[in-house]
Symmetry: C2
Subunit: 129 residues, 2 copies
DNA sequence: CGGTATCCGATGGGATACTG
DNA sequence: CAGTATCCCATCGGATACCG
């Protein structure tokens, strides 16, 4: 049931009930770092420190934690290669790909509308002062 | 520039640089409560306590804060009616509508794939133990 | 290289009480 | 009804140090 759609009397939107499983997914998606990582890991596999360099501002700890969550959710795959020193590659799964597509449309919205948003913020802030 | 797309050598993805304005938008979007509120406020205006009831689990404080942010970003509109007691109606703006559409596609993804995600989590957890 | 462990300060957000 | 104010605790996340 999509958000914001009309429902028969007496019914509630699933997503707004606390026990709703969709909220679990939302919790994962509503994570800035997870979104950035999922957006970055595309077709070709990426290594840990490569991600760290490309996603500026993420700490080693948070990157590690977020990768684990994404792997647990079946959105990315972690492969270890017994080189010296060890190499670890992260790649996106088929499931993750479908989510990444949706996320990309979000990113496109952000880039298309950042101007309108900052303008609105300026108007709001001036009206307050 | 959409996420995950190939770039000419030496260029970086905008979204991955710290100063990128798109990150500001992402910060707002990557907010579980903001997403739920934006998804709920559709065509017809909604009142404060109505939202509070329908979005289960949100506290008065967080609802108030999040509504303010969304209004500041120009995504929702706040109208006060001088009734007794006072009535406040929140409605979505044209800008907000375009974002809500994107968000709904995210919610659809969640509802369509929650099963696959929880299954992946079970597999992961069993492999760990 | 690819992490984990620990410490610790900032922030988020719930509970409660109060107000125009 | 529609909030604001305060307290307070839990989680987030940065910094640093260490490891296979």
């Amino acid at each position: 049931m999509p958000l914001g759609q009309k429902l028969p009397e007496g019914m509630r939107y699933d997503v707004y009930t606390q026990a709703c499983p969709s909220r679990l997914v939302l919790d994962r998606v509503a994570d800035k770092w997870a979104v950035l990582i999922l957006g970055r890991i595309d077709d070709e596999p990426v290594r840990f420190n490569q991600l760290r360099r490309e996603i500026q501002g993420i700490s080693q700890k948070v990157l590690s934690q977020t990768l684990k969550k994404l792997e647990r959710d079946g959105l990315i795959r972690r492969e270890v290669f017994a080189t010296v020193p060890v190499t670890v590659e992260y790649s996106i799964t088929n499931l993750g790909k479908t989510l990444a597509d949706t996320i990309r449309s979000l990113a496109r919205w952000a880039e298309a509308n950042i101007e309108a948003v900052t303008q609105a913020q300026r108007r709001y802030d001036e009206a307050q002062s």
